[in-house]
Amino acid sequence: MREVAVVSFAQARSVRRDILRNEVEILMPVVAEVVAASGLSRDRIGFTVSGSCDYLAGVPFSFVMALDGVGAWPPIEESHVEMDGAWAMAEAFTRLQHGDIDSALVFCFGKSSVGDLPDVLTLQLDPYLVAPLWPDSISVAALQARAMIDAGLTSEREMAEVAVRSRRDARQNPYAQLSGDFSVDALLAEPCISSPLRRHDCPPISDGAAAIVLAAGDVARGLCEKNGRTPAWIRGLDHRVDAQNLGVRDLTKCPSARIAAEKAGVSAAPIDVAEIYAPFTHQEILLRRELGLDSKTRINPSGGALAANPMMVAGLIRIGEAASRVHKGEARRALAHATAGPCLQQNLVCILEGE
């Protein structure tokens, strides 16, 4: 395997609704920032790949429009995944394995506010038997939370504790949307919105964008040395998919996350920091178990997706946040996780290590 590192990361501040700016206008400063922070000039970037979703924008081929913000003329080598930017990063990592180019730009954007997000996400479900019933994303997550509580794997109190910790940590994150001091008892006194989920168990609806630059081998070393950063080497990367139909899965387990963690080599050495993409509180509890993390690992110092959840972006933010800890020398070994689909159907695990 060719060595590849995250050399820079940038993100937009997540907001509930960016009425003034379109996707290109949100994205452009983020891409400019990540390229400048990488130390590469734009024409030295060998490959560009984006992650976004036309269903969010309500516009076909919306990702083509986004190229207006990255300087795609004269023509560049470019690709797109209709998924979270974390999967775009997986493609860039694979592309860099060919050995003919040394760097890649990965960017993603999502305005979740344009449509009715819980309904938009319904269209991820089986189109014949499930989607026509229009179960929204919160109801579907509630099925999983209920299954976990019934199996004795979590409780409403433990879930509220996850929300309190996430929003307290988010106070230190200038890009987060939801932060503050809350008490578990006060949160539990709130009504359920989709039993057993309360508002605090669910992520905010967010508009945002993020980007990273990857570089290989000595190019990454040189760039990071110049910028006073430790390279965040991708030492393990794997993604797996569970069955789409919720009825054939045990929702209290997440085999795709467990296998991805095994294949990425999570257990080879202690993990200092983990950035887990758990949109709902109970999913963090489930993922901690499936990823094999114990209390020695600091979970989601950024506040995670409960503090900011721009669709198609929050997964790449997890990778960027984990990489930033390595860049600054705050973590030697970090885990980043991304998810997509209903009830953690798809999971990607990335291990980042310093020198």
Binding site: I19, L20, R21, N22, E23, V24, E25, M28, V31, A32, R42, Y55, G58, V59, M65, L67, D68, G69, V70, G71, A72, W73, P74, V114, G115, D116, D119, V120, L123, P127, Y128, A131, P132
Partner: protein, 170 residues
């Protein structure tokens, strides 16, 4: 047809119709908003890249070459040159214009990017690259914040533009 206890089975279902609808509230963004405000007054306000000088019409807020924001507005006349075109002879569902009609790519004078529009008041067999055209606007009372305020382009009768003058925009 298989049978069950001597009774014929119903025909297998091969297709289902499942209505599905999503509603969106789309805002155009800063640069398109500036442009649409101009269009509302019958003005064409393109935007110039501060680095390479290219003029975008309609503006999307960025220069696609330099990847930097465009802010400087440039007012263009509603005259331009046909770069390429297509004659539509096929009827299709939802067609708004009587066939045959012409869709043309027109680069306005002073712009660096052609835009797509209808071309009318001209026999379809006479349309050609290099043809000089101008906008026919809707009545001021009918104006909306939309490029549809330009109902169509029509020939000006000026001599054709040389190929050299528009070949970069093909």
């Amino acid at each position: 047809m298989s049978t069950q206890q001597g009774r014929p089975l119903p025909d297998p279902i091969k297709m289902v119709t499942i209505p599905s609808r999503l509603d969106y509230t789309i805002t155009p963004g800063e640069a398109p908003t500036r442009f649409l405000r101009g269009i509302l007054e019958g003005r064409i306000l393109a935007e110039r890249c501060p680095k390479c000088g290219k003029v975008y019409m309609p503006p999307r807020g960025s220069c696609a070459t330099c990847a930097i924001p465009t802010k400087e507005q440039v007012e263009l006349s509603a005259k331009g040159t046909v770069t390429t075109f297509c004659v539509v002879n096929l009827p299709f569902y939802g067609q708004a214009v009587e066939i045959p009609y012409v869709c043309a790519s027109v680069v306005l004078d002073g712009a660096d990017l052609p835009f797509f529009c209808l071309l009318a008041e001209c026999p379809v067999e006479e349309v050609r690259p290099g043809m000089r055209v101008e906008a026919v606007w809707c009545e001021p009372s009918e104006r909306k914040p939309s490029l549809e305020n330009i109902r169509y382009m029509k020939p000006t009768g000026e001599p054709d533009a040389t190929y050299e003058s528009f070949k970069e925009h093909l």
